[in-house]
């Protein structure tokens, strides 16, 4: 039996940007979809403001979920190829039906303007736009609902590097202006470091570390985080970069039959017998900084030179 996400417990605070990082197969996309009720959890709960959305009736759930939106990785697939841009952006308002027709067009045009799309795009079709433009359309579309939470599932991964920065800045602007809460899912440490307040690291369906971004980058507690950081040292300010790289040996184990005990042990250079025998607890090693490793905090990290821990950025 495949459990894409098995044992994840986290809380997102209003107004923050919460990053979730993991490689493909870590279950992060499934988690993201679950957060916006696109996948129903087979065990456990997704709570929105403390209450279970699935406790609502069909119609109530449909009204409720407008507050929790998602921007997908592939903007091309996320737009109906047969609808003009204006129709696509307006669609959430059409569904909500609270505004009269003309007002909806106006609201959609304003949203488009806000994300940097000129009005002439309104009558175009998705295939006439570039990747970056399409992603802006998707963001505009989501914006019309003024949601509380936006899950960005690899929202910039498919775009050119130069465009990525633009989109990220746009997202940051929108957050300030509308008081949005983001859950930013990605495999790219550079992106996460840039914009997140807090970060959670996922491996094979489990959380392995979570904490405030700065603390996590400065003092990674879990060997997996350490390995990720060492592979992308440009994410860190120069004085924090280590000199060595951790190369993870072996391949990602099959999620259908994960390793016993700690799931990372098959690729961890510090693995001991204990790691195979016992599943590590998810514990708060430092205030606000959690990890699931028997030896968290005691291991020498590679990405941050020893002794530099705690140095001011």
């Amino acid at each position: 039996m495949l459990k894409a996400v098995d044992g994840v417990s986290l809380e997102v605070q209003p107004g923050e940007t919460f990053g979730i990082i993991g490689e493909s197969g870590s279950g992060k996309t499934t988690l993201g979809r679950a957060l916006v009720c696109l996948e129903k959890p087979s065990a456990g709960q997704v709570l929105h403001r403390g209450s279970d959305p699935y406790a609502l009736s069909g119609g109530e759930l449909r009204r409720h979920r407008r507050d929790y939106q998602v921007v997908f990785q592939d903007p091309n697939a996320a737009l109906d190829p047969r609808m003009t841009i204006l129709r696509s952006v307006r669609e959430p308002l059409d569904v909500a039906g609270t505004l009269p027709h003309a007002a909806r067009d106006e609201a959609a045009m304003r949203a488009m303007e806000r994300v940097g799309l000129s009005p002439e795009f309104a009558s175009r079709y998705p295939h006439e736009l570039s990747g970056g433009q399409k992603q802006r359309v998707c963001i505009a579309r989501v914006l019309t609902l003024r949601p509380s939470v936006i899950v960005c599932d690899e929202a910039v991964a498919a775009l050119d590097v130069s465009i990525q920065a633009d989109i990220l800045n746009l997202l940051a602007d929108l957050q300030r202006e509308f008081g949005l809460t983001y859950v930013f899912i990605t495999h790219n440490l550079g992106v996460v470091a840039h914009i997140s307040d807090r970060v959670a690291v996922m491996y094979l369906g489990r959380l392995v570390e979570m904490g405030e971004t700065e603390a996590l980058l400065a003092r990674p507690l879990h060997p997996y985080t350490d390995a990720l950081l060492s592979a992308e040292p440009v994410a860190l300010p120069s004085h924090m970069r280590g000199t060595q790289r951790v190369v993870l040996s072996g391949e990602l184990p099959s999620p259908v039959s994960p390793p016993s005990g700690c799931r990372f042990r098959t690729r961890c250079r510090f693995a001991q017998d204990l790691c195979a025998a016992q599943v590590p607890d998810w514990r708060e090693v430092e205030p606000g900084h959690w990890a699931a490793c028997h030896f968290a905090g005691t291991l020498p990290t590679v990405s941050v030179p020893h002794g530099m821990a705690g140095a001011p950025s």
Partner: protein, 286 residues
């Protein structure tokens, strides 16, 4: 950053016709047939059921295609057979779509046991040799044009259901459907707004091709006496009558047979052209 504006639907239609001779000719022929059907009473030189003593006459000035065994004008009967034919084809295809489209979409969208059961029923229905099933259903409903075409429609429905089901499954998994769900769109509305428009194209092609099959089915059934009942003219029925007098006046067979052939060709050609234009990624091997 200016991209070309999309031309209007009418413009696109006309340029398609200009580029595809086959489509233009077929469409012109079918429009002609349709007009003939509407204006049958005006255009036909004689009444299709008026008998005369001039039986099995060869073509002459008064009767361009001669007369049949009851002295009726063949040309007039041919013209009056056109509306029957078109009505029959459209009825059969309409019934088939009416049953097949919702069933197929439902099976594709809901999946699970609904899909499994529907698939089995479709398999079972497709095991029947089609005309035989149509005849059996016609026998049960009672012979006549409308009933026999409803039977043919029922025979068409499993194939159509299967087709739209596959397309629905493909579209259902597209990301914009997920996006629509997050906006709180109800399943019915999602089907109407997103799934149907994107899944319908192969369906439309198949429907056009089925018009030809329906036409041939009506011809067969009328030929067998199960479809259009005399004295109403029908091309299939005319063939049946003419067969009995083949040795005396063989040319009777040709007019209705050719009419059936050309109309079926036109439907098929239109369907193939539609297929080529609606799916530009298709290999030219078709």
């Amino acid at each position: 950053m200016s991209a070309p504006h999309r031309p209007s639907a009418a413009r696109r239609f006309l340029s398609w016709l200009r580029s595809d001779l086959r489509a233009a000719v077929s469409l012109a022929y079918l429009l002609l047939l349709f007009s003939l059907s509407l204006l049958a009473n005006v255009v036909a030189p004689h009444s299709p059921i008026a008998q005369s003593m001039d039986m099995l006459a060869p073509p002459d000035a008064a009767h361009w295609l001669g007369t049949d065994d009851l002295g009726r004008d063949v040309l007039s009967r041919l013209i009056h057979g056109a509306p029957m034919t078109l009505y029959a084809s459209i009825l059969a295809v309409g019934v088939g779509s009416l049953i097949g489209l919702p069933v197929g979409i439902m099976a594709g969208y809901l999946g699970g046991w609904v899909d499994g059961l529907t698939g089995r029923v479709i398999d079972a229905l497709l095991s029947f040799p089609s005309i035989v099933l149509a005849i059996a259903v016609t026998g049960a409903l009672g012979i006549g044009l409308t009933n026999s075409m409803i039977a043919v429609g029922i025979v068409f429905s499993p194939g159509l259901a299967r087709l739209i089901r596959v397309q629905t499954i493909v579209v259902k998994n597209d990301l914009y459907v997920d996006a629509a769900r997050t906006f709180g769109m109800s399943p019915l509305r999602i089907v109407w707004r997103h799934i149907l428009p994107n899944a319908i194209q192969p369906f439309i092609v198949q429907v056009t091709l089925l018009l030809a099959a329906a036409l041939l089915a009506e011809a067969s059934l009328s030929f067998l006496g199960l479809g259009v009942q005399p004295p109403q003219p029908s091309w299939g029925q005319m063939l049946a009558r003419s067969y009995g007098y083949m040795e005396i006046s063989p040319e009777q067979m040709y007019a209705p047979g050719l009419a059936i052939l050309f109309t079926a060709l036109a439907f098929n050609a239109l369907g193939e052209s539609l297929r080529a234009v609606l799916d530009p990624t298709r290999r030219r091997s078709d």
